[in-house]
């Protein structure tokens, strides 16, 4: 029971981990991308579209090439979320639009895009199937480590996940390392803290902002893909992804802008997200109260962090502020 709880919590947490790792990179460049929920939707649906096209081209699903079956959705997802990142970067960095408004517009657009294609893909391609169920593709995506079943609860807790889940964790550690220990990370942090100083020091501010936002979007988009292909077994349901994108943004604060903290944070959030299913003898209405937990915890962290005013726990100083070299 506990092993299965942890397993479900991790699976809930992985999309959040992708989202928050992406958002941390973005925020480190000073861009507060509130479009992450939209980006994750687009990442998910782009992968679905790719997989759908590929699956539909086969009479017999067994003929599918496993390598292509994974690669095509992956590339589609990367492409879709990259475009979203570019839209955001172009509007906020090049055209200097307000970040919050752009982000919210991106979320409106992205969720709309996801739900629209999710609801109309069958009609547009004139297929005669009742719903988008990509079980063959999903099977390739959710392949677990072969020896997981033989190891009892150890296998269930540590080895029962798909490659994307392990990738998320490795990626978070890697990003943590890059941000903290490398020149690239130092430059990026400088841009987020004080772009004018960074610019004076010869760091390419615009390039850094573009790169961080686009890479961040792509990583966040993978979270959407993981959700559809692995967690939801390849079944796209409109609004199924729900508020996870916002939770990913909340997780950024919870992890104090450090990806390695968001690994544990995401599992904790995943656990809080589903804990109502594991508490015996509570009725449906009380479950709804339990569902507040991730949000309430985030508020608590937000308040504590701001009240303690510890320097290394603060958001990047120029977060949300548009940089204009000629200003002043």
């Amino acid at each position: 029971m506990i092993a299965s709880f942890i397993q479900r919590a991790v699976m809930q947490g992985i999309p959040l981990l992708f989202g928050s790792t992406g958002e941390i990179i973005t925020e480190k460049s000073g861009n507060l991308n509130l479009g992450i929920p939209g980006v994750m939707y687009v990442g998910g649906i782009s992968g679905v579209i790719g997989a759908f096209m590929y699956e539909q081209s086969f009479e017999d699903k067994a003929d599918m090439n496993p390598f292509l079956a994974v690669l095509i959705p992956l590339l589609c997802c990367v492409f879709g979320s990259l475009v979203m990142g570019l839209i955001y970067s172009f509007l906020t960095t090049t055209l200097r639009a307000n970040q919050n408004v752009t982000g919210l517009a991106l979320t409106t657009f992205g969720t709309g895009f996801g739900n629209f294609f999710g609801g109309s893909l069958i009609k547009i391609t004139n297929s005669d199937i009742p719903s988008i169920t990509l079980s063959s593709t999903s099977a390739y995506f959710s392949k677990t480590l072969p020896f997981a079943d033989n190891l009892g609860w150890v296998g269930q807790v540590f080895f029962s996940y798909s490659f994307l889940a392990y990738f998320a964790i490795i990626l978070a550690l890697f990003v943590s390392f890059v941000l903290k220990r490398t020149r690239v990370g130092l430059n990026l942090r400088a841009v987020g803290e004080n772009p004018a100083t960074a610019d004076a020091a010869g760091i390419k501010v615009i390039l850094n902002k573009y790169a961080a936002t686009c890479i961040g979007s792509v990583i966040a988009g993978l979270g959407g893909l993981y959700y559809v292909m692995d967690y939801a077994d390849g079944v796209w349901s409109n609004d199924g992804f729900g508020d996870r994108g916002w939770l990913a943004i909340a997780l950024v604060i919870f992890a104090l802008w450090k990806p390695k903290f968001s690994i544990l944070g995401s599992i904790l959030f995943g656990g809080l997200f589903i804990v109502h299913n594991y508490i015996p003898n509570i009725d449906v209405s009380t479950q709804e109260i339990f569902k507040m937990l991730p949000y309430a915890v985030t508020i608590l962290v937000l308040v504590i962090v701001s009240a303690r005013k510890k320097k290394e726990h603060q958001p990047p100083q120029s977060l949300g502020v548009t940089y204009f070299r000629e200003e002043r």
Binding site: F109, T111, G112, A250, Y295
Partner: protein
């Protein structure tokens, strides 16, 4: 070093901030951006439906104002979106990013429905309506006050705080609807007091939504005057421009933040009241319907001017209704409207750049030298 640089090296173009652009020019740029957006939307629509664009625009108009019923629905939706937009505006002008309007509206609605359900039968209408109004205003105001207090005390990030408050409000609604579900266990409360109509807004002259529209019109005028001619409005715009300046000239910044968020939350509460008592006579998680987020864009696009907000909210609602009609006609998903809304907003916020800045190319720089 310097000798290595080519003699007349100037970049191809550079960007400079404009002085105030004449009104007609900025209007032209805005209209131009909307036209460009509509062209892109047309291309997208044609790609999915294969119809000719003229008949599609006809469908949009038909969906928005095709029948008397639809026209009223359009006005009602514009009024509701406008109401929330007005509510978030003073906070934005102060650079307080209240993206929790959704939650504040829901809390106003929750307070309204609570009064309607439990006191609808016992209180006289003359008492019931004022109680509903006060309850909704209080609930919205409290929901806005909480993040504001922390912002004033510790400068807690209000964008994320208000965002999280939305979900707490949504879960409270869920809890409430499960506990009071009719029939039990359905998780929905349905339309309440449908026989007695206790707490329902009366229909004026046979028009159901007229009272809502009148109230929002009054609020629009109030907000216009408040922002433009009152001392409060002046103070909050100074805080928005520069907190240090505000402090220097003796404005109590914390007080202004808290007072403005109380007002913002209270008006969201009124929006909740109008949605519950004046429109749905019920409450669900979807009652606010994303208006809290759309309102931010409406307010921003209108440059915080309540009169322009009528136009921007009309534009967005018109498009939404039209797109829904298109999706019904061509059996597409109604989320189509969100894609179109997104495209239009991208274009309008992008066009702001050309209003605020000008691009100067190399040859124009040469002219100046002459």
């Amino acid at each position: 070093m310097a000798s290595k640089i080519v003699k007349n090296h100037t970049p191809l173009f550079h960007i400079a901030k404009r002085d105030e652009l004449p009104f007609y020019k900025s209007l032209l740029i805005r209209i131009g951006s909307i036209v460009a957006a509509l062209i892109v939307c047309a291309i997208v629509i044609i790609a999915f439906t294969g119809e000719n664009p003229l008949s599609i625009y006809a469908t949009i108009v038909e969906g928005a104002v095709g029948t008397k019923r639809r026209t009223w629905g359009l006005f009602q939706n514009v009024a509701m979106l406008l109401c929330v937009s007005l509510a978030v505006t003073p906070a934005f002008k102060m650079k307080f990013w209240n993206i929790g309007a959704e939650g504040q509206v829901l809390m106003g609605g929750l307070a309204t429905i609570y009064v309607m359900m439990f006191y609808g039968e016992t209180l006289q209408p003359a008492v019931l309506y004022p109680v509903m109004v006060i309850a909704s205003i209080l609930a919205g105001a409290i929901w806005g006050l909480i993040p504001a207090v922390f912002k004033a005390l510790w400068n807690t990030n209000e964008t994320l705080f208000t965002l999280m408050m939305n979900y707490i409000a949504i879960q409270l609604i869920s809890y409430y609807t499960y506990v009071n579900a009719v029939p039990k266990g359905s998780g929905q409360i349905g339309i309440i007091n449908s026989d007695t109509k206790a707490g329902w807004f009366p229909s004026l002259g046979g028009y159901d939504y007229l009272l809502n529209i009148i109230i929002v019109a009054a609020l629009t005028v109030f907000m216009f005057v408040y922002l433009k001619y009152s001392k409060h409005g002046y103070e909050l715009s100074v805080v928005g421009e520069s907190e240090n300046t505000a402090r220097y000239i003796g404005i109590n910044v914390k007080k202004v933040i808290i007072r403005t968020m109380l007002l913002s939350g209270a008006m969201c509460g009124i929006a909740g009241l109008l949605l519950v008592a004046g429109t749905d006579h019920s409450i669900t998680r979807e009652t606010a319907g994303g208006r809290g987020f759309t309102a931010i864009m409406v307010s921003w696009l209108a440059k915080f001017n309540p009169i322009y907000m009528i136009l921007t909210s009309l534009l967005l609602v018109f498009l939404e209704k039209g797109a829904i009609q298109i999706s019904t006609k061509f059996q597409l998903n109604p989320s189509f409207s969100e894609i179109l809304t997104g495209i239009i907003i991208f274009f309008i916020i992008g066009s702001e750049f050309f209003i605020n800045y000008r691009i100067m190319f190399r040859h124009s720089a040469k002219k100046e030298v002459k």
